[in-house]
């Protein structure tokens, strides 16, 4: 009953399975993609999601600064807007930013950053900077863009935080963690759901009973307090990598139950099909029947429902990390970045809310994409 678009009463699962097997006789993925492409908003949102993943995964190359680097002189700097125009000494127009003049307020002694409209700092492309490894193998120091740091130039496109760390770079690096956390969480969900659901549905009997009881127990446990309890149980002494994997497991181990039920239901109806029996008579092993003959029948459904699970995980990570229960610095994730956003800091430094914008954009486009995929996977669509 989690699927809001399905009619209130499902058909008996056996009947549904049979019709589906008929419609999806061959390459259901192609059919699904054809329908998906017609769903314009979802199709474009899928591109946005893809772009977000590409940008955030190549943060080492795109981000101009090291996310942990502290610029003592540039604390809480407002965003330096990217502009396009002529920079002296160069004939063609190019991208530039206006630099800031650092002044100390004579009375309050606070730092005041005044935009210097006269001078222009051109962005340089493929500059040398901190070293990183391409695909984790080939060492390089090239970055997509940057400025002449030795001449004291800066380009904080999205401002800096309370420690003078570049907001743009941190959002990219944070995105890598947050987006990957959603993806790894879903992969674990996927493996657990398919394995346990498949076994439960295919073999039935006492194994089925045991697995279904566990699923029932997990499903009747309210999510938020259990998340909090598990997140609070992560020892403080763990390294950030261990915490990261623990968080992924926490998020995944609650989500797999729904998938397990779906897979079990499909399995129950499909294992009686003639082709399953034929495969078994031909001497195929049970794991081959399950994964080669049965699972592909409802793969498109699973992909759709999983794509709707990713944004939920990203939101959960953000909330938990914001409360200080999830990931902790020095790991940078969107939730960790938002720890800096308090009522007092936002009033003066609105740009500290930008990571939230990244979260909203991601979740929004993922939801759109997931909705579209689900509609496309539904054989009763049009």
């Amino acid at each position: 009953m989690t699927d809001p678009s399905s009619p209130a009463v499902d058909l008996p699962s056996e009947e549904k399975g049979k019709t589906e097997a008929g419609v999806y006789e061959a390459n259901q993925f192609k059919l699904m993609m054809r329908r998906f492409r017609k769903h314009r908003a979802a199709y474009w949102c899928a591109h946005i999601v893809l772009l977000l993943y590409i940008v955030c995964l190549s943060c080492n190359f795109i981000a101009p600064y090291d996310p942990a680097k502290i610029h003592e002189d540039w604390v809480n700097v407002p965003p330096q807007g990217l502009r396009f125009g002529k920079v002296d000494g160069f004939t063609l127009p190019r991208l530039y930013v206006h630099p800031y003049d650092l002044q100390i307020h004579p009375v309050t002694l606070r730092r005041v950053y005044q935009v210097d409209h006269e001078s222009r700092v051109p962005l340089r492309f493929f500059v040398k900077g901190r070293s990183w490894k391409w695909m984790g193998i080939i060492p390089t120091t090239r970055h997509l863009f940057g400025v002449d740091e030795e001449a004291g130039e800066t380009c904080f496109l999205l401002g800096t935080g309370g420690l003078g760390q570049d907001g743009f770079s941190r959002i990219l690096y944070g995105g890598r963690i947050s987006l990957l956390l959603g993806l790894t969480g879903v992969s674990i969900t996927f493996v657990l759901g398919i394995m346990l659901g498949g076994v439960s549905g295919y073999y039935g009997g006492i194994l089925d009973l045991a697995i279904q009881r566990v699923v029932e127990i997990l499903q009747s446990v309210p999510k938020i307090p259990i998340w909090l309890a598990m997140a609070a149980a992560i020892p403080k002494s763990w390294s950030s990598l261990q915490v990261y994997f623990a968080m992924t497991l926490i998020l995944a181990c609650i989500g797999w139950t729904g998938l397990c039920r779906v897979v079990r239901g499909k399995m129950l109806s499909l294992r009686e099909e003639d082709y399953a029996r034929a495969a078994s008579l031909a001497g195929a092993t049970e794991s081959r029947i399950i994964f080669v003959h049965l699972v592909p029948n409802f793969m498109s459904h699973i992909v759709a429902s999983l794509s709707l699970a990713v944004p939920g995980m990203i939101l959960a990570e953000t909330s938990l990390s914001f409360l200080g229960l999830g990931l902790r610095p020095p790991i940078v994730s969107w939730g960790v970045l938002l720890q800096e956003a308090t009522v007092d800091s936002i009033v003066n430094q609105t740009w500290l809310l930008l990571p939230a914008l990244a979260v909203i954009l991601t979740v929004l486009s993922m939801n759109f994409m997931g909705d579209g995929l689900r509609d496309a996977a539904d054989p009763y669509a049009d």
Binding site: M1, V221, P222, T318
Partner: protein, 330 residues
């Protein structure tokens, strides 16, 4: 038939709940060390360790016994209504609950009321006027609200309030001058003045989600032939919609009542922590962090009980609302 069904469900629920209680207790005990270790460490910092006090604590709460024994003491106490005391404050868990649950429940019930009274008309409107600018606006606002974490809505709300209404403090539930005053009409009015903030913030996300569910369901129903038939017979268009499709489309909301029950206590958790509301959420979080086992386990377990009962209630209600669903059958 119905009584037998309820009985059957209850029989299944009891072992389920026992298993859940064990999982919850185990989970809370999972972090290394215990409250006692932390207490001894704190005493060492302050100077001498009072061995006598440690001994009493150990004896009352069975810290030296294995976990399974501690669990046994807790669950037997829980069943008889004695939930033990909080290690930290030495206050009975039942008293803490009696203090915090009414406020928590009030916030949640108001939120549910707010959500439903907005979502039902808007959801139906969006479905009937689908693919019009109004529908697009509702869909866009709804999706954005759903994609925004609740704590961000709370933050933005606080910042906006600070600039347009600086005298108003959106955090907390009761103004300082009433904090220790006995309950009176003025205090109640003060509570109401603060209550709408969490209700609004919590309601925004929930309303958005519900509008989308309702819209999808009503659209599904509008395509059905009985709607066409009713229209052809010359029934008033508004009546057609309210009488047939809406009645079917409301089913998922009815089945959602079950999930509302546990959320009456846990729904406002994150927002309460952000806004500093005196509800169960922040208290449970603190108890979890300091391994205040009895308090944390009792609170989390009560929510689990509510969840199990809630699922049962929603199954029963669904059968009442939708006569096509039969008890026990699949």
């Amino acid at each position: 038939m119905m009584l037998r069904y309820i009985f059957q469900r209850l029989m299944i629920a009891i072992p389920t709940l026992l298993a859940i209680s064990f999982v919850v207790f185990f989970l809370i005990q999972l972090p290394p060390g215990s409250f006692l270790d932390a207490k001894i460490a704190a005493m060492e910092l302050e100077g001498g360790v009072d061995m006598a006090e440690i001994e009493t604590l150990k004896n009352t709460y069975h810290f030296d016994r294995p976990m399974i024994v501690q669990y046994y003491y807790w669950i037997t106490g829980f069943v008889t209504g004695d939930m033990g005391k909080s290690f930290e404050t030495d206050v009975e868990v039942t008293r803490t609950l009696a203090e915090l649950v009414p406020v928590t429940a009030a916030i949640s019930l108001f939120t549910i009321f707010f959500t439903w009274s907005l979502a039902i008309p808007f959801g139906i409107t969006a479905a009937v006027k689908r693919n019009t600018p109004l529908d697009y606006l509702l869909t866009f606002v709804g999706l954005t609200a759903m994609a925004t974490p609740a704590f961000i809505i709370a933050l933005i709300f606080q910042v906006v309030m600070q600039s347009i209404w600086p005298q108003f403090d959106p955090t907390g539930l009761i103004s300082r001058e009433y904090a220790n005053a006995p309950w009176s009409l003025a205090k109640f009015a003060d509570l109401l003045k603060h209550l709408w903030v969490p209700v609004f913030i919590l309601g925004v996300g929930g309303t958005a989600g519900m509008i989308r569910i309702l819209r999808a369901n009503v659209i599904d129903e509008l395509k059905k032939q009985y709607v066409l038939c009713a229209r052809a017979r010359g029934m008033h268009p508004v009546k057609v919609i309210l009488k047939y499709p809406v009645r079917v489309a409301i089913n998922p909301l009815v089945s959602g009542i079950g999930s509302i029950l546990p959320s009456i206590i846990s729904g406002s958790m994150i927002i309460s922590i952000v806004l500093g509301l005196p509800t169960l959420g922040p208290r449970v979080l603190q108890a979890l962090m300091s391994q205040d086992t009895y308090l944390a386990a009792s609170c989390v377990f009560i929510q689990c009980v509510l969840a199990v009962v809630g699922i049962l209630i929603s199954d029963l209600l669904l059968a009442v609302v939708d006569p096509r669903i039969k008890f026990g059958g699949k």
